[in-house]
Amino acid sequence: MRLRRLLGFNLLLAVVLAAAGYYLGWWLGHQVNAKSLDYFGDTGQNDVALFLAYLLGVAGFLAGLGFFNYPFSRIAGRPATVDHDETVDPRGWTRYIGYSTDHKVVGLQYLIGIGFFVFFGAVNAMLIRFELLRPQPNVFGSGQYLTLVGLHGTMMMGMMTSGILGPFGSYFLPLMIGARRLAFPRVEAFTFWLLMAGGLILSSTVFYGGFPTGWTGYAPLNDQANMGMDAYIAFFALVGISMTLLAFNMLATVFMMRAPGLTWGRLPIFVWSIVATAGLNVLAAPVLITTLVMVALDRTAQTGFYLSTQGGSQFLYENLFWFFGHPEVYILAIPGFGIVLELLPVFSRKPLWGYRLAVAGMLGVALLSFFVWQHHLFVSGMNADLRPFYMLSTELISIPTGFIFVCAMGTIWRGRLRYDVPMLFCLGWIFNFLIGGLSGVFLSDVPSDVTTHGSFFSLAHFHYTVVGGLIFTFFAAVYYWLPKMTGVELNQRLGKIHFWIMFVAFNSTFAPLFAVGFLGQPRRVVTYPGNLQFLNDWASVSAFVLGLSILIFLTNLVWSLAFKRSPAAANPWGSKSLEFQVPTPVPVYDFERIPVIDSDPYPYGVEPAPRVPAPAGAPG
C-alpha cells in the first residue's frame, strides 16, 4: 500500500519525466542542426540541444508534478473545480513536496526552496572570499573563479527577487487582507516549481563549463561564452516568468479579494510594499525574458541582436538589461521597507507614523526606478548628454526613500521599544540601509562615479542595500512570522546571538570594501594589487564570521523545529494585525468567517482599544 503512493503525479514522477525530457531535447537538438553550425565541428558546442533539453526537461518536470492535469481536463470538457487541497489536503506532510494549491503550503515551500538555493549562493560567496585571501590566484583558476562569481550573483538575484513575496507574500497576503486564498492558487504553485526548476538549471552550469559574464551577462561576451551560458539564460528567463506570474497573482489578490471594510487606506503597509513590488515585477520582468530570448537566438539561430559586427548593438543589451536590472534592485529593496514599517509599530507599541507618506515613498521609489537605469552606463559612452538627467532622476529616488526613514523615525519616537529579535533586525536595516543609500550618492554623481563605477565600492554599496537591506529584513520576517507559519517557537537567545554576530560581521565585511574600491580594485577580478591584501583579508575573515552567523541561525532553526518543538503562542508579539488574530496552526481555510475591518491595522495606544477584528475560532 505504501509503495503504491509512490505512483501518481508527485515529485518522483517529476524527476523521472524531467530527465526523460532533458535527454529527448538533447537528442532532438543533435538531429536538427548538428551540421548547420559552423562552430559545432570545432568545439562540440550545441546550444540548440542544450536549450531544447532544458525546455523539455522543465516541461517534463511540471507534467510530472501534475500541472497539466487540470488544463487538459478542462480541454476535455470536464467542469471547472476547486482543487480538493485548497480546502482539506489528505496528503499530510507529503503535500509539502508536491503540487499544492494551499497558499500556506506554497509559502513554506518557497521559504525552504529559496533558502536552499540562497544557501548555495552563500557558499559561493565564501569560496570567492577564500580565493581573495591572496592577491594571486591560489585555489581556483580564472575560469572557475568567474563561474563562482556568476553563480553567486545570478543565484542570489534570481532567487531573492521572490525572497519576500514568495514565502511571506504567499503565506500572509491572504491572511492580512482577510481572504481565504490567493486569486490564482494553481498559478501560485506554478511559480514556485518553475523557480525550483530554474535553480537546478542554473546549478547545472558547472557541467557545461560555467559562464564568464557575472550576473549582468553582457553582450558580446554572452555570445562568445561556452555552453554554461545557456544555463544562465534559461534560469533567468524562468525566473522572469515566475516573477511576472507571482506578481500578477499578488496584484489580483489585493485588488479583488480584500475583506469588507479593508479600504486602501487601511491596508497593512507590508501589503502596500507587495503592491509596489509586484507593479515593478510585471513591468520589468517581461523585459528580462525578452532580452534573454534574444540572447538565446543570437547563440542558436545566429541572429545578431547584440552583435555590432552583424548589425546589432551591445548597447541594446546594456539598455534592456538595466531597464530590467535597476527596477530589479528595488524589487529586492521595497519588500524590506514594508517589513520594517510593518514590524516597527508592533515593537514600538505605536501606530505607524505617516502612513500616507510611507505609501507614497514605496510607490515613488517604484515609479522613479524606471527612469534611472542609465546610471549603470555613465562611462559607457552611450547617450553622454543624458547623464545630467539620469544623475538627477537617480538622486531624486533618495527623496521617497527618505520617506521610509522618516516614517520609521516617527514610529519609534515616544514609543515603548521592545528589543525582540525581529526588532533588532529591523534596526539593523536602518543602519545598513543608511550607509547603503548614502554610498549610492557617490555612484549617482557622474564625476564621483567615474572612479567608483565597476569597482569594489559599487559592490560594497549594493551589498549594503541587498544584504544589509533585504537579507536583514528577511531574517526579521523569519523570526517574526515563522512561529505563526510552523506553530513552533524559535529560540530567542540564539536569535539574538545570530543578530549581533551577523550585524557586526556584515559591517566588518563590507565597510572595508568601500575603501578597497576607492583604492582602485575593480570588481570580479581574481588578482588584485598586493597593497590591498590586508583589507581584502579583513573582509574575507569577516565574511567567514558572517557565514558562521548563518550557521547559528540554521542550528536554531533545526533545533527549534525538529527537536525542541515548544509550541508558539497564537500571537507571540502582541501584534494587532489581522494575520495574528487567527489561531495557530492557521486553519486550512484561514477564516471561518470573512472578518469585517473597521480600523487601520495599527490601533496601538488608542483608548478605548477599538475592536480588533476577531474571526470566529480565534483564541481569547
Partner: protein
C-alpha cells in the same frame, strides 16, 4: 505632555555632532579621498567627493543621533505593557523633511552637473563629447582586446605601443575602443574611466599634471583573464616623452606596413565563438 523636551535635546546633540564631524570630513577625510591629484579631472573628483560627503554629514549625524537617543530613551522599562501615544503623523515635520531632502538632492544634482561640464570629469563621453575643455589636445587611442590594452598615437604616424606614456601638463584626448567584448579603461590615478566597446569611439579628456606613474585596470568583466588585464602607465616630462615616442616609432617601424590605418573604430572579422 510634560517631561524633558526630547526634540530640543536631539537638535542640540545633532548640532554638536555635526560641528565635530564636518571639519573632520572637510579637512581630514576630504584630502584623503580618491583618486588623488594626478590630473585636473582626478583633483576635480576629489573636490566632488568631499562636497558630497560634507553635504550628507549633517543628515547622517541627525539620523544616528535620533536613533541613538530614541533607542535608549524610549525603550520599554521592565515588563511594562503600556502602549505609546497614538501619533499618526505630523504635517509640519513631514513637510520640513520633504523640503530639506528635496533641496539637498536637487543641489547635489546641480552641483554634479556643474562639475561634470567643467572638463568631463574623466568619464567616457562617447563619440560626440559635450564637455570639451578648451585648448589643443594630444589624441591618443586606447584599444582594448581580450585581454590587454594597446595604445596608438595618430599624431606620431599611428604607432601602436604596448604601454601608455603621456606627456606632463598636456591636455590629452583619449579615444577608447574595443576589438571584442566590452572592456572598461580605468586609469585610476588620472581619474579616467571609459568603457571600450566594439565599434564605438569613446572620448575622454584628461589634463595631466606632474610626472608620475598610474595604475590601469580593466573595470568591466570581459571574460577569462579579466583579472589580469592591468598595466602601469606613466606621465613623463615633454622631452622624455618625445624621446620615448621616437624610440617606439623606430622599434615598430618593421611592422608599420602591416598595421591597419588609424581609425576611430576597427572591425575585426565577424566574431567566431571561442571556448
Amino acid at each position: 505632555m510634560s517631561g524633558p523636551n526630547h526634540i530640543r535635546r536631539v537638535a542640540i546633540l545633532t548640532l554638536v555632532a555635526t560641528l565635530i564631524a564636518l571639519p573632520l570630513v572637510i579637512w581630514v577625510l576630504g584630502p584623503a579621498l580618491p583618486p588623488g591629484s594626478g590630473s585636473d579631472q582626478a583633483a576635480g573628483q576629489v573636490t566632488d567627493n568631499t562636497v558630497l560627503t560634507a553635504l550628507v554629514t549633517p543628515f547622517v549625524c541627525f539620523i544616528l543621533v535620533f536613533f541613538g537617543y530614541a533607542l535608549v530613551v524610549f525603550r520599554r522599562r521592565g515588563a511594562d505593557d503600556e502602549e505609546g501615544e497614538a501619533i499618526r503623523g505630523d504635517p509640519r515635520a513631514q513637510t520640513l523633511w520633504i523640503v530639506l531632502t528635496s533641496a539637498l538632492v536637487i543641489f547635489m544634482a546641480g552641483y554634479g552637473t556643474y562639475a561634470l561640464l567643467q572638463n568631463g570629469s574623466g568619464g567616457g563621453q562617447g563619440p560626440d563629447p559635450i564637455a570639451v575643455p578648451r585648448g589643443a589636445s594630444l589624441p591618443v587611442q586606447v584599444i582594448a582586446q581580450q585581454w590587454q590594452f594597446t595604445y596608438r598615437y595618430p599624431t606620431y604616424g599611428g604607432v601602436e605601443t604596448m604601454h601608455l606614456v603621456l606627456p606632463a601638463d598636456r591636455q590629452i584626448e583619449l579615444h577608447v575602443t574595443s576589438l571584442d567584448a566590452v572592456h572598461s579603461f580605468w586609469a585610476y590615478g588620472l581619474g579616467v574611466k571609459a568603457d571600450a566597446t566594439l565599434g564605438t569611439d569613446n572620448v575622454v579628456y584628461v589634463n595631466t599634471r606632474s610626472p608620475r606613474s598610474f595604475d590601469i585596470h580593466c573595470a568591466e568583466l570581459c571574460g577569462l583573464y579579466h583579472g589580469y588585464m592591468f598595466d602601469t602607465g606613466k606621465v613623463v616630462g615633454g622631452t622624455e616623452f618625445d624621446a620615448w615616442i621616437q624610440q617606439q616609432q623606430q622599434l615598430y617601424q618593421p611592422i608599420a606596413q602591416y598595421m591597419p590605418p588609424y581609425s576611430t573604430t576597427y572591425s575585426p572579422d565577424p566574431q567566431r565563438r571561442a571556448g
